[in-house]
Symmetry: C2
Subunit: 480 residues, 2 copies
């Protein structure tokens, strides 16, 4: 019981230490293995040393928290990862599988046979199994279902029936329920009888005989109130509750806003069906921000840094291909004006500036609006207001920065007209960027898409092609 | 007591409802105000209606959770924001100021005079004051200090002495300490005597007479164990503890890894000086991801969507200026080859493709490596391995996509040589992107900089100028 939450002080620094130590032992292990497997007579000493380093490594791993083992597995190259994985005691497999990153989990599961997977899965609760199930072969999932008792099977089936962005998919079933017509003293005795309270429990759920939630009893109120008082007298009746079909990102925002640690999940009739914890919400927040970072960086999904070249290529090709298409379109726009460029080659040197600044400015607008949309700060009513502001900002930027660059172009190429065209093109492209920077995320939202994903690529494509077209078009009209 | 954590079901949907209702009332209010202020004889009916709508709005706001009021303030345009702010009961000012976004907090404080600020600040704890202090005028902070009692003043001074990315700046001082030589029964009685347990308390801190932390007692262990047992017998001795000078981002990762809800902060001698909570950690995680999103989008800081044009310009100019400089450099690189472009104008149309794909690919590499660095998955030992992999991926991408684009260029412009130069330039620029994608974040880390900020701009600048140089250089050598 005393080692449940602990691993010692300064966890992060220490964690890097664990990783270094394990890597070290693995190197030593490999060296000895080579010695032991050398041709010629068996080197008994080397075999003995080999056995000893393995035992040492095993001991080191056994001492670590499952989350720390998972971190080490994430950070090791594939061969070393499997060496360590094979040393992990079978009764910790399940927990560790839950903690590693998606990419690493796949690689570990690929190395396990069905009986091993089943053994690992047996240590897990229904909600944890649901997280794992999508990565498991169908026959293993089927076998697993057989082994569960009826209520657990029901829980697993229910958890698997929700989309991964719905509350139902991340709720757990470890909750303590009490009745409201008993005293706190009875509740205290009941808890002592249970002997264990699930992790992340800050409140007990009060239900009636139909399992309808009638209130919640925070542990701290249980502790500070007179044990002779009734639960109904102390409990909070208007708790924050959630429905299984609600969006997890919005739920996480509610957890943040009201500083919740756990909350009940109820069905449409108010019946208690599960529990949400801050632990699951922190994962949601982290994953949400990860998904955004990855998509902005042009990656389809989380990439194991030691993934095979082939896997990396597949992960990156989608965005590269999209980028190639948009770049090709921009290139064809330039192609339209080849005649003008031949006559005035300065256009070729200046055109990337117009496109680049437009892209940068459009990304600024879009970043701000996507954020405000995610935080629920933009309503349709404020859209016009925002658009007006962005247009003014774009005009100012166009006149100031476009003016500067126009002057530079004038000085460099000795043509005031070229400078003027440059300024005008910059201003128009910035206006296009502002307009699209507001309209793209608003439209994506209207069509039920996540504006954080893809809008950056879209705006850059528009300001590139648009910038080239505006600049070269103006130049053709006025300079050629 | 019963309304402390609650605001009813489905908080997010409801929140949008609150916002809509308040906006509605404000519109009505404005309309009536116009009527009431019309020239001519005083319209007593209009004045009455005006008074009534205000009272209604006030009642609506008073019913809301402080976090919900903050959300509404964040989402309203400046004039409406101040109208609502003036209706907020003075005794909730402090709490709400803590919850609004940085930009909105500034605007609200600007509207308050010193006595109002002092009154608001009086409702806050020392650690909350520390969060607010940086936005307050110096004389107000000084006045505040005078009003605190000695231990609180010490706490405030201590909290303000740390950088905002250090644990000391976000710890609070609301903790319950107990001695280890008493029974659980005594602890239970002590809690009932205290009558209140701070929010986010999942464990009590056990200290000796020198205030040195000797263990922690989770509330759940207190609840399930025999009250006759001694604290020393039940407590966990090797709790996760943190030091005030530790990095908050790493600390947040430890909270995630070990599913902590609260943890003690101790000084070098092991003396208890404060407490960290998951609530503060969730803020850290959110802010970290925000800072990254903003910087990737080219924004310096969080922007209030209704900020003045002038404020928006200041927020965006830093990155626009940097972008302008890098675009100008790329433009000068093209300028070097104007002779070649005049002779073969196809180069002008094709060069943005080489630069664009290089930028995209470099951003993919950098995103992956920055993530791995942040998660502590990359060690110096794995750097060479990573570099090798990225170089192979770049080579493959260059040959495949460069090959495709080379073919297209050949078909479009009828020159096999031009196609070959295109393929070669793409491959070389992708290699440059891979090399820099690994080296830039690694070097930023070595120089103690945050690789998440600025590395995207740097890689794009390099692949732009590099791409133009490689492509036009090769073309000049082999085609002109």
């Amino acid at each position: 019981m005393m080692t449940e939450i602990e691993t010692g002080t300064r966890p992060t620094t220490q964690l890097q230490g664990h990783l270094a130590r394990v890597s070290d032992m693995l190197d030593r292990h490999r060296l000895v293995e080579e010695l032991a497997n050398r041709e010629g007579p068996v080197d008994h000493e080397a075999v003995e040393v080999h056995r000893r380093t393995l035992a040492e490594l095993q001991a080191q791993i056994d001492k670590l928290h499952p989350a720390d083992v998972a971190h080490i597995l994430d950070a090791l190259p594939p061969e070393d990862r499997l060496s360590v994985w094979n040393l992990v005691k079978a009764d910790r497999d399940g927990e560790i599988l839950l903690e590693v990153s998606d990419a690493v989990r796949e690689s570990l599961l690929a190395d396990m046979d069905a009986p091993e997977i089943l053994a690992a899965a047996e240590q897990l609760d229904a909600d944890e199994l649901a997280d794992l199930a999508e990565d498991l072969p169908d026959d293993v999932v089927h076998e697993l279902m057989q082994r569960l008792d009826a209520p657990e099977r029901e829980q697993l089936r229910s958890a698997m029936s929700y989309d991964e962005d719905q509350v139902g998919a991340i709720m757990d079933f470890e909750m303590i329920t009490i009745r409201e017509d008993v005293t706190l003293e009875v509740v205290l005795r009941y808890l002592r009888f249970l002997k264990e309270i699930p992790e992340q429990t800050d409140k007990l759920f009060v239900v009636n005989s139909d399992n309808v939630l009638t209130g919640v009893l925070p542990l701290k109120w249980l502790l500070v109130n007179d044990p002779a008082r009734m639960v109904s007298d102390v409990m909070a009746v208007d708790a924050n509750t959630f429905h299984p079909d609600e969006d997890v990102a919005e739920t996480a925002q509610a957890f943040e806003r009201y500083d919740l640690i756990s909350a009940p999940v109820v069905d449409v009739d108010g019946r208690l069906i599960g529990r949400l914890t801050i632990e699951a919400m922190v994962d949601v927040i982290r994953e949400e921000s990860d998904a955004e970072t990855l998509s902005r960086g042009g990656l389809r999904e989380d990439e194991d840094i030691f993934a095979s070249v082939w896997k990396s290529l597949r992960n990156r090709w989608a965005w590269l291909a999209i980028n190639l298409v948009t770049a090709f379109i921009a290139s064809r726009v330039i192609g339209l004006f080849e005649g003008s460029i031949t006559k005035l080659v300065a256009l070729a040197a200046l055109m990337p500036i117009v496109a680049g600044i437009g892209g940068n400015s459009g990304n600024q607008t879009i970043t701000m609006i996507v954020r405000a949309l995610a935080l629920g700060q933009v309503s349709p009513a404020s859209a016009t207001r925002l658009l007006r502001k962005e247009v003014i900002v774009a005009l100012m930027n166009g006149l100031v920065w476009g003016g500067v660059i126009g002057m530079v172009a004038w000085l460099l190429y000795g043509s005031a007209a070229l400078g003027l065209v440059m300024t005008a093109a910059m201003t128009l492209n910035l206006l296009l960027a502002a307009l699209m920077g507001v309209l793209i995320p608003m439209s994506l939202i209207r069509f039920g898409r996540d504006p954080a994903i893809g809008s950056s690529v879209l705006i850059t494509a528009l300001t590139d092609s648009g910038g080239f077209f505006i600049f070269l078009g103006l130049a053709t009209l006025f300079l050629i």
